[in-house]
C-alpha cells in the first residue's frame, strides 16, 4: 500500500481564485496548478475506476487512470476484485496494456516477472541472483484501497480516507435511482466511446451539470428526433432543478417524470419505443416487463455529477481522465441490462450512438464548445469564468440541500467549492 506524501510548495493562492460566484481563468491553463490538482485531488479522494460488470469473470481485467497513475482492475481466482498499480516492481514497466479483456496472469514484457491476478509476484526468470536479496512475497504489484457502491468501483491512494459511502453521501440515493435503468436486469457495461479534446478537465466536469447549453449546442440533435422526443428534451422551462449534494457532487434533474423508472409504469408508451414494445411482447414478455424495459430504455431523467471524475449521465457513465493541463480524455460508457432481451440492449446501443461519442449527433458539438472555452480563456490577463447563474433564486430541497433552477450553475459552484477545499487543505 502506498500513501502519497505531498511536499510541494504552495503553487497559487487558491482562496483568491475561487469566489462563490466565479473562478479565475488560470484554473484552465496554469500547468503548475494542474500538477497540484493531480496531487491534491486525484491522489487524495475516491476516484472511479470502473463498473463490476467490466470484470465479470475470473481473469477479467480492465485498465483505468487515477490522475497520472495507470491502474489495473482485475478479478482473481476466488472472484475477488483488485485494483493494482500498473507498474512492474522490478524497473517499472507496465504489465498490462489494452482496455479490457481476459488473462491468466500479468507478465512484465521486460525481464519476465510474472504476477497473478491478485498482484502476487509468482515467478522471476533466473531467480538464483535474488537468493538472499529478497523474497518474492515482498514485491507484489502495489494494491490500492477500493470500495464499491451499486457495482461502481472507486479506488484511492489514501488509507485513512472516509468510507466511500460517506463520501458519496447524498449522491447514493441518485445512484440507486440510476441503476434502475437495466429495465429489471442488473446494469452491464456494453462498451465505450473514447475521445479527447484540447481543453482542461474541469470544462468537462462543469458541462455535465450545464443544462443551459443544451438547446443551443444540441440544436442539430433535437432536430434529428421526433416531435414527442424533442418535447422531452425541451426542459429549460420545465420543473427540473440542480441540487448540491455535498463533497462536490450534484444532481441536475432535467426530466422529473423519469427520475424513478419503477414508477408510472402505466404511462403511455412513447411513439419511438412502440416498435420495441411490440417486439418484446411478441417474444413473450409480460405487459409489466415490457413497460419496465420501455420506460428504462432511454435512461434516467437526470445527470449525477460525482467529483472528480465520473458522472451517471442520463443513460451512460461519463468518465474523464486529465491528460495535461489542456487535454482531456473522455469515455462515454454505454450500459444496458445483463441478460436483458437483445432488442432492449440494441435500442440502448443505438440511442448511445445517436448522441454520444466522436461521431454522435451531440458530443462533437460539446467538444467544439469546450475547445473554444479553452482557447478563449487564454485571452486577457486577469479574467474570470462566471458561475453566478441562478444564485439569487435558491431554495432548499426536500433532502435539505441547496437547490437552484435546472439551468442554474448550482452544480458547478458545488464542484468548485470542493475543489477549493481540497486544494487548500
Amino acid at each position: 500500500m502506498t500513501e502519497m506524501i505531498d511536499i510541494k510548495p504552495v503553487v497559487a493562492d487558491y482562496d483568491s481564485m475561487i469566489k462563490p460566484d466565479k473562478v479565475h481563468s488560470d484554473l484552465y491553463s496554469n500547468a503548475d496548478i494542474y500538477e497540484d490538482e493531480l496531487d491534491k485531488i486525484f491522489n487524495n479522494t475516491w476516484v472511479w475506476v470502473g463498473h463490476e460488470s467490466e470484470v465479470p469473470d475470473v481473469g477479467s481485467y480492465k485498465t483505468a487512470m487515477i490522475g497520472r497513475h495507470s491502474v489495473i482492475v482485475s478479478r482473481d481466482r476466488k472472484k475477488n476484485i483488485h485494483v493494482l498499480l500498473n507498474r512492474c516492481r522490478h524497473r517499472a514497466a507496465t504489465v498490462c496494456e489494452g482496455k479490457r479483456g481476459k488473462t491468466k496472469s500479468f507478465m512484465c514484457p521486460y525481464h519476465g516477472w510474472g504476477y497473478s491476478l491478485d498482484g502476487a509476484l509468482r515467478a522471476v526468470p533466473k531467480p538464483e541472483e535474488y537468493e538472499g536479496v529478497f523474497d518474492k512475497s515482498e514485491y507484489p504489484l502495489v494494491s490500492l484501497r477500493f470500495e464499491t457502491y451499486q457495482g461502481l468501483i472507486f479506488a484511492t491512494f489514501k488509507e485513512d480516507l472516509e468510507p466511500l459511502e460517506d463520501f458519496l453521501g447524498g449522491a447514493k440515493k441518485w445512484i440507486d435511482l440510476f441503476v434502475k435503468q437495466g429495465g429489471g436486469y442488473p446494469l452491464k457495461v456494453l462498451g465505450d466511446h473514447r475521445f479527447r479534446f484540447p481543453g482542461n478537465w474541469k470544462i468537462q466536469l462543469e458541462n455535465t451539470t450545464d443544462a443551459y447549453h443544451f438547446p443551443i449546442v444540441h440544436k442539430s440533435f433535437v432536430s434529428s428526433v421526433d416531435d414527442q422526443t424533442a418535447e422531452v428534451f425541451d426542459f429549460l422551462d420545465g420543473e427540473g432543478h440542480v441540487e448540491d449534494l455535498g463533497n462536490g457532487h450534484s444532481v441536475m434533474v432535467m426530466i422529473p417524470e423519469l427520475v424513478d423508472l419503477d414508477k408510472d409504469l402505466e404511462a403511455p408508451i412513447p411513439e419511438r419505443f412502440q416498435e420495441l414494445a411490440d417486439e418484446l411482447a411478441a417474444e413473450g414478455h409480460s405487459d409489466l416487463e415490457v413497460r419496465r424495459m420501455v420506460r428504462a430504455v432511454g435512461g434516467s431523467g437526470f445527470n449525477l455529477n460525482l467529483f472528480p471524475n465520473v458522472a451517471c449521465s442520463m443513460a451512460f457513465f461519463r468518465v474523464l481522465a486529465p491528460i495535461s493541463v489542456n487535454e482531456t480524455e473522455i469515455h462515454h460508457v454505454a450500459i444496458g441490462g445483463e441478460g436483458a432481451p437483445s432488442g432492449f440492449n440494441q435500442m440502448r446501443l443505438r440511442l448511445h450512438e445517436h448522441f454520444q461519442g466522436p461521431m454522435g449527433f451531440g458530443t462533437p458539438d460539446d467538444a467544439e464548445a469546450w475547445e473554444r472555452v479553452q482557447k478563449g480563456s487564454h485571452a486577457g490577463s486577469d479574467e474570470w469564468i462566471l458561475l453566478n447563474r441562478g444564485q439569487e433564486n435558491l431554495t432548499t430541497s426536500p433532502d435539505g440541500n441547496i437547490s437552484g433552477a435546472v439551468c442554474s450553475e448550482t452544480g458547478m459552484r458545488a464542484a468548485y467549492q470542493q475543489w477549493k477545499k481540497m486544494m487548500t487543505a
Binding site: G191, R196, F197, K219, P364
Partner: protein
C-alpha cells in the same frame, strides 16, 4: 486471376463515392445505397456483430438521412469549423464475387482540417456491393479506423 474489368468497375464506383463525400454531394451519396444498407464504424476492428455491440456509427437508411440532414442544416457548430476532407482510396481487392454481390476491401487515407490543424485518419474499408442493372449499390460499408480502439477526436463529416 483477378478480373481486371470487375476491379476497374469497383474502383470507379468507390472513387466516385469518395468524391461525393469529399465534395459534400450528400443527396447523390444517399442514392448509392440499398434501402437495407448498413453504414458502420466499429470500435473494435475485429468485431463482426455490429448490431449487438457499440459502434462509433451504425446507420441504417433513416440514420444516414438524419446524419446528412445534420451536416447540411448548419445547426451543428462542430461541422462549421471543419474544412472539406480529402480522401484517397487505394489497395483494392475483390474478396468475393457471385451473381448478385461483390465484396471489396480497400484502404483509405483521409485528411481533415479543423481549426487549422491537419489530421489524418487511415482506415481499412470493406464494401458489400449489390449488382443492380449493370451498376452497384452499397449494401454494407464498414470503416475500420486504424486508431479506432484507442481514442478519437470529433469527426464532423462522413467517413
Amino acid at each position: 486471376m483477378t478480373d481486371l474489368n470487375l476491379l476497374n468497375q469497383v474502383r470507379a464506383f468507390i472513387d466516385a463515392e469518395a468524391d461525393m463525400l469529399d465534395f459534400e454531394q450528400y443527396a447523390e451519396w444517399l442514392d448509392l445505397w440499398t434501402p437495407e444498407g448498413t453504414y458502420v464504424v466499429p470500435i473494435d476492428p475485429k468485431e463482426t456483430d455490429f448490431s449487438n455491440t457499440l459502434n462509433y456509427a451504425y446507420d441504417k437508411e433513416e440514420m444516414r438521412k438524419l446524419r446528412v440532414a445534420r451536416l447540411e442544416s448548419g445547426e451543428a457548430v462542430s461541422t462549421q469549423t471543419t474544412d472539406k476532407t480529402v480522401r484517397q482510396m487505394g489497395r483494392f481487392r475483390i474478396l468475393d464475387e457471385n451473381d448478385t454481390h461483390v465484396d471489396v476491401r480497400c484502404s483509405m487515407y483521409l485528411s481533415e482540417c479543423r481549426h487549422g490543424n491537419l489530421k489524418t485518419y487511415p482506415a481499412d474499408i470493406t464494401y458489400k456491393l449489390l449488382k443492380a442493372d449493370g451498376e452497384f449499390r452499397i449494401e454494407e460499408k464498414v470503416i475500420r479506423l486504424q486508431n479506432s480502439n484507442s481514442y478519437l477526436s470529433s469527426i464532423g463529416y462522413i467517413l
